[in-house]
Amino acid sequence: MADEVVLLDYWLSPYGMRLRIALALKGIEYERKEEELNNKSPLLLQSNPVHKKVPVLIHNGKPICESVVALQYIDEVWKDKAPLFPSDPYLRSQAKFWADYVDKTISGFARKLWSGAKGEEMEAVKKDLFDCLRLFEGELGDKPFFGGETLGLVDLALLPFASWFSVHDKFGTFSLEAECPKIPPWVKRCFQMESVSESVPSSDQLYDYVVKMRNSRQE
């Protein structure tokens, strides 16, 4: 019997992007349903009654919510291809720690950067963000990816946010290359993988989207 996999998603959701990449890496066929965040579908409300948020993975009718929980589920069920979590328990705990750190800190900075903070407040956010990303640089070390030779949990957790930060780079808000030189090449390496480039919008696409939004607001 074929698996039925549905992903309730929103194209800009960094959490949804994580799952898209994972499903692509594992070669899992799925149906993607785009949600309107101000008009959530009955299916979404029914599948995630507690948080009412995307993404939700629905496997053979059963929903799994929270992106890191869903990533672990995907890795455990489709375990024969492209392992996302390390097999060693200690390394696995470390990967989870860094993914948790993305959720505790990076996501907050991402929000603040887009919230229109200015002046001193903006400088403080930028400083905190760079300090944080430098810790990730240390964790990456000389490896091509956080997962080693292939993409792993931490790559998937961080990449959608890093992609957004590259957009700020284009706007000239800051220079990621100057502050955290290891990050842009790592982002580029990720996007060289089809599972990534076919699953998530590139910084260019995000940049175009922001420009369009800003122009339409001015009209």
Partner: protein, 219 residues
Amino acid sequence: MADEVILLDGFASIFGMRVRVALAEKAIKYEYREEDLRNKSQLLLKMNPIHKKIPVLIHNGKPVCESLIIVQYIDEVWKDKAPLLPSDPYQRAQARFWADFIDKKLYDAGRKIWITKGEELQAAKKEFIESLKVLEGELGDKPYFMGERFGFLDIALITFYTWFHAYETLGNFSMEAECPKLISWAKRCLQKESVSKSLADQKKAYEYLLEMKKRLGVE
């Protein structure tokens, strides 16, 4: 070669007690080190440089941080005794989802109960009780959250029991009146030695909380 296990902890820490319960369930010998959170040890700062928080499990010199990550690590390394997570991937995802809910919703609301006053306190109390009722719904008529066996999700929640007296007193409500099923569940868990020996005394926790309120100037 014998395992060397050290736990850096705080006596009434909701998160630290989770690790103690897990270690007790698995009958793991370890050295407990109480941290003075106003004067953190060099070891703690070295082992958890990013968050500088307890609990930290140090296994043969290597640190694992974040209580739920630690409990899963313990379950994976000492896998031959008392499995804490179910074997089915979907059930595991559910356990992880609800543990995440406890950390996101319940903990924050509980914290606001002792740190705020007036309207803010009332709002926190409402959210706290609502979250507990959602969890009560999830428990249903089962003896433990995942069914017949005490496990990961029970561990994630039971440590709040130490603080029930404090929440009730500061929030002016009765846990028994609001969530009778959770109280029966808690009493069932307390019959297990791994729980009763790991949980700090409710009165001592309340006194500690009052002291903290004084120190923070939030009386």
